[in-house]
């Protein structure tokens, strides 16, 4: 009798484990800081982009420049020195979008040049477009500054703890003089402690 009740109890516990976790799907806050892992996540991307934009907009020499005109900037790819595959273009896209939305800077985008050249060729050479309205070759504005950035990572782990440190450094270089007009870095540190029983 005792054996039966013990078996029943075990069946009940196993059953409750299976019932407990049904999967649900819901929308969540895209700006949430929740982390599932120590890897570079969505919140990290947003914080890096936000910090860089805020810093650049209030840096006194940039305030002086942007209070009179809207400088033209080009963005170079991020040097990813971490051991992870990160869509670094997404970081620079966020930074560029925020800076454009601020109305203080203008950007050129070399990644879409192929499509632009194709369209210009049609406008100028195909005979389809009224020459009065066709956009001309050789009228694009050259960028005054280039945004360059690095993302690096230092990982330490001992026992059940893993400590991951990220550093994102961004600089704004004057293309003519080579001077770095602005630079800032954002540090992020994540500490993971594995639980005794967890996976």
């Amino acid at each position: 009798m005792r054996k039966i009740s013990l078996s029943l109890a075990m069946v009940a516990v196993v059953g409750s484990m299976m019932v407990g976790c049904s999967s649900t799907i819901k929308y969540d806050d895209p700006a949430s800081t929740r982390n599932l892992e120590t890897s570079f996540g969505a919140s990290d991307l947003q914080q890096v982009a936000n910090t860089m934009v805020d810093s650049m907009l209030v840096f006194p020499p940039m305030v002086a420049v942007t209070s009179q005109r809207r400088p033209v900037i080009t963005v170079s790819t991020v040097k990813n020195k971490t051991d992870q595959h990160i869509d670094t273009e997404s970081i620079t896209d966020s930074i560029r979008t925020k800076l454009i939305r601020s109305g203080k800077f203008r950007f050129i985008d070399r990644t879409t040049d192929d499509a632009a050249v194709e369209e210009l060729k049609i406008q100028n050479d195909s005979g389809l477009v009224d020459p009065k309205t066709a956009q001309k070759f050789g009228k694009q504005i050259g960028a005054e500054y280039i945004l360059t950035s690095n993302l690096s990572q230092i990982t330490q782990s001992a026992g059940r703890q893993t400590d991951v440190y990220y550093k994102f450094t961004m600089s704004l270089k004057n293309l003519e003089t080579g001077i770095l007009e602005w630079s800032d870095e954002k540090e992020l540190r994540k500490l993971k402690t594995k639980s005794m029983f967890g996976m």
Partner: protein, 130 residues
């Protein structure tokens, strides 16, 4: 032996599901032109005290706000905050992502925000436990 297995199973059943923590948010509203603070202290007021609010308007029309808070706890607190920016008509223009910050026991912390639009005149600071 069997009891040991039963105890292990019960322990495992506790591990499986963690519910998402509820987020209680404190709101601080202010005008970027003057430090006019409305502080709802119901949630975070027990653990944090607002010491001062500084605002600055840059020559390029960008507003900078810094709210200085002080921890009332002796233990380290993990909080998160975000700024939402509104124009003169109260229409929301933008909001920053939640920014996590560690405040050590009895220490002060600066919660800084920058409006990326020069049309922003009012802001709302949201503080929540992390």
């Amino acid at each position: 032996m069997k009891y040991g297995l039963l105890i292990l199973l019960v322990a495992l059943s506790f591990l499986g599901c963690r519910s998402t923590p509820r987020m209680n948010v404190t709101q601080i509203e202010g005008s970027a032109e003057k430090a006019n603070v409305v502080f709802d202290s119901s949630v975070i007021g027990k653990s944090l005290e607002v010491l001062s609010v500084n605002t600055a308007k840059k020559d390029n029309g960008i507003y900078q706000v810094q709210t200085v808070v002080k921890s009332k706890y002796k233990e380290t607190q993990n909080i998160q905050y975000k700024y939402e920016w509104m124009d003169a008509d109260g229409i929301q223009l933008e909001s920053s992502p939640w920014k996590p910050i560690v405040i050590y026991g009895s220490a002060r912390a600066n919660l800084a925000g920058v409006s990326t639009s020069s049309a922003a005149t009012n802001y709302r600071l949201l503080i929540a436990e992390n």
